[in-house]
């Protein structure tokens, strides 16, 4: 019953899950393409920092929705409890 009250973000979880899968697929399969640049250092290190932010945004959202869909949510704040 409680589930019916709150809608679960299944759609969002699927979208971010797909995006996350694509990112990881590229990371594993396209190593030859990006590794020469990513290991150059110096100003190229900005690429590494930027990639980190993209991954944390996409994958962070995915993991957030993932647990929500599974019904694992934080405790609701209630008065007097």
């Amino acid at each position: 019953m409680a589930d019916a009250v709150k809608k679960k973000p299944v759609g969002k979880a699927v979208i971010f899950g797909l995006l996350s899968t694509i990112l990881y697929y590229l990371l594993i399969t396209k190593q030859d393409l990006y590794m020469p640049y990513f290991s150059k250092g110096e100003i190229y290190s900005l690429l590494i920092i930027g990639t980190a932010f993209i991954f944390s945004y996409v994958h962070g959202n995915f993991t957030d929705y993932f647990w929500k869909v599974l019904g694992i949510e934080p405790k609701k704040k209630r008065e007097g409890r």
Partner: protein, 371 residues
């Protein structure tokens, strides 16, 4: 160009079991970080090194996965009201200075005593900090647990600032006083800066600054445990970002390793953060104390190896050396799993209670409408 090629060849070929292992350890490490604000590094770095990743790349890649993880964790914890951003930024920036000095000291020890000496230095620092702070934190957690069991739940939950914290707040240095919402009081930044510095110094030395950062916020500033562990994520984020930049600048970061750890650790950090909403403040202290003391045992196990290599005690057989090292790593892993177990147990218990409560609420509401 040639040294670039040499650097690339330093990055190991990834096998499937490497990937699975990194994702898994990342998950458990993330779970603990989301809960107590730091942790995971002490298992991840040696794990990567055992895969054949050179030490510096292991350290750099761990640093590199830490800042996105800390960012995601901090945002989540901020939603629960567990983050004092101002305190985190001030502590984080002073921690950066601590990292700088800590790394220089490390370098100096390495030059004068060599690799073994530097390992001994790290182990000694770790043992002293873990033994003193870990014991104190754990005893304090037990005290609150006892109160809770005696039915004085309110007293156990309510975290009064320590006497030291109250005394430190009384020190009024004109022009340096800053208001922090987590303690609802003003405190001089000349007091928070050394704490941040110590956190950074420790992070540069033993890779886990939170073992100083969180207890110092709790006991010296009087910040509640839940807010201390949430704020530690802001500090970790700042240290991680600047640290990553430094290592990446020299081409030491293996992005594949870092992102694979992140794959698991973001699942973990979310879950750990959710876990904190179901527990009382002393659970943070309990988990932290337990982890610190288990790692203490793990480190103490390998100290004879370093002493023998330095010639300070008689030589050990190679079998003995590898046995001690494996046992030490095993205990490390055990520490992480024990912590993960405690967090899971609390999370599952909390979620069941919450579900039952929600069902009651719903039944009550429906009853009201009908009535």
């Amino acid at each position: 160009m040639q040294d670039v090629a040499a650097q690339v060849s330093q990055f190991v070929d990834l096998q499937l079991w490497h990937v699975i292992y990194l994702v898994f350890v990342g998950f458990v490490g993330g779970l603990v970080s989301g809960f107590i604000g730091s942790g995971g590094a002490f298992v991840l770095t040696p794990s990567m090194m055992s895969m054949g990743v050179p030490g510096i790349i292991a350290v750099a890649s761990n640093m590199r996965h830490k800042f996105p993880k800390a960012l995601v964790g901090a945002i989540k914890r901020a939603k629960f009201g567990h983050v004092d951003v101002k305190l985190g930024i001030i502590m984080g920036l002073s921690a950066e200075a601590g990292v700088f000095v800590g790394a220089s000291v490390q370098q100096y020890v390495k030059q004068t005593l060599g690799d073994t000496g530097s390992s001994l230095y790290v182990s000694t620092a770790l043992i002293i900090v873990l033994a003193t702070v870990g014991t104190y934190v754990l005893l304090d957690a037990f005290k609150s647990m006892k109160l809770d069991r005696m039915g004085k739940a309110k007293e156990a939950e309510e975290e009064k600032p320590t006497r030291i914290a109250l005394a430190l707040r009384k020190i009024h240095i004109p022009g340096t006083m800053i208001y922090f919402k987590s303690i609802n009081d003003r405190i001089s930044f000349l007091i928070t800066v050394p704490l941040g510095f110590a956190t950074g110094f420790l992070a540069a030395t033993i890779a886990v600054g939170g073992f100083i950062g969180v207890p110092s916020m709790i006991y010296l500033l009087g910040v509640p445990s839940l807010i201390s562990s949430g704020t530690e994520l802001v500090i970790a984020f700042l240290m991680g970002t600047i640290g990553t930049f430094k290592y990446a600048w020299h081409g030491f970061v293996d992005i594949r390793l870092a992102m694979l750890i992140l794959l698991g650790s973001l699942f973990g950090v979310q879950l750990g953060a959710i876990g904190t909403t179901y527990v009382k403040g002393y659970m943070i202290k309990f988990v932290m104390g337990v982890i610190m003391l288990i790692i203490l045992v793990s480190r103490a196990t390998v100290v004879p190896v370093y002493l023998a290599q330095l010639g300070w005690i008689s030589a050990l057989s190679p079998q003995m050396v590898s046995l001690l090292k494996n046992v030490s790593f095993g205990i490390n892993l055990l520490g992480l799993f024990v912590a993960a177990f405690i967090i899971f147990k609390n999370l599952i218990k909390g979620i069941y209670q919450e579900k039952r409560y929600r069902a009651h609420e719903l039944a009550y509401k429906e009853g009201k409408i009908k009535g």
